[in-house]
């Protein structure tokens, strides 16, 4: 197991094996996005309560799922970076923070735009929106701490610790926000029933969710591959790659 981790996490080998993954994941992402959007706009019927506005769900929910998923990936990479000192894992922590923050921003913005027709206001202190906002703050913290150090490795380790502390805290924060929300239920907000998803709506949603996941992975590979080169710029294998490129 350890051998496996060290082999796939060695910068040189990582650079080799991630190339193919990155390429195929990008292709799959484009294909899935096309299918998912087609299904979402042309196959799925309008919702009987929300009309056409519900179609925001096909990007809002996948982005919200990704915002959580990326944080977990980041914390897991943080553990690998701190416990086993895997260099590639250190890089993954920094790249995850940026990508995760952008997914969280997507979820928040689409949530607000969906909220206006549904709730009548752009912002409601609803449990899910609030925890998404807090999650964005957590990402900002990791990004700021990661960038604050002159030495990128120290920055990555500090960010890893923060990400791990954060991942323990996220369930507590989520739970507390939900509880707070049930007590302070704003009276003016018209609650709409959780729509029981019809299968023709569920399929595009799931396709889009997978597309967001492959999109994230391909970008993560892309960003971390260049970062690997930058960190290993004095290694001979990097110099060889450079010669081939020029």
């Amino acid at each position: 197991m350890m051998q496996f981790i060290h082999k796939y996490g060695s910068p040189r080998y990582y650079y080799q094996w991630s190339k193919g993954w990155q390429k195929w994941l990008s292709i799959i992402t484009v294909v899935l996005l096309v299918i998912g959007l087609y299904q979402g706009f042309f196959v799925a019927p309008p919702d009987y309560q929300q009309g056409e506005s519900y179609r925001i769900i096909f990007i809002h929910v996948p982005a919200a799922w990704m915002s959580m998923f990326v944080y977990m990936v980041m914390a897991f990479a943080g553990i690998m970076a701190l416990v086993w000192r895997i260099k590639v894992a250190e890089i993954v922590v920094g790249e995850c923070a940026i990508l995760g923050a952008s997914f969280t921003a997507m979820a928040l913005i689409t949530g607000m735009l969906w909220g206006k027709p549904m709730w009548g206001t752009y912002w409601v202190w609803d449990a899910r929106l609030t925890s998404e906002l807090v999650l964005l703050f957590l990402y900002f913290g990791v990004i700021a701490l990661h960038g604050a150090f002159d030495d990128p490795r120290t920055g990555a380790k500090a960010a890893s610790i923060l990400a791990i502390v954060g991942v323990i805290n996220i369930p507590i924060i989520k739970y507390s926000v939900e509880w707070w929300n049930t007590l302070h239920q704003p009276a003016t907000v018209a609650k709409f029933d959780k729509p029981s998803m019809h299968i023709s709506m569920l399929i595009p949603l799931l396709i889009m969710a997978v597309a967001f996941k492959t999109y994230f992975l391909s970008l993560l590979f892309m960003r971390s591959r260049s970062e690997v080169l930058a960190r290993e710029k004095n290694a001979s294998w990097v110099k060889e790659i450079l010669k081939e490129q020029s």
Binding site: S102, P117, R223, A230
Partner: protein, 50 residues
């Protein structure tokens, strides 16, 4: 066609959402490519100096 873009009166919300998400997703890709180019350029300069 017109009906499709009208989104049952929710055009502004639906299309703004999709536009912003598309913008962010493309921006992420562009940023990743620029990062790659920048790193290659920096390393090339480093190699020329030495």
């Amino acid at each position: 066609m017109k009906e499709f873009f009208a989104m049952g009166g929710y055009a502004f919300f639906v299309w703004t959402s999709y536009a912003i998400v598309a913008f962010l997703m493309i921006a992420n890709v562009v940023a990743a490519r620029m990062k790659r180019k920048r790193i290659f350029r920096e390393m090339q300069e480093l190699a020329e100096e030495s």
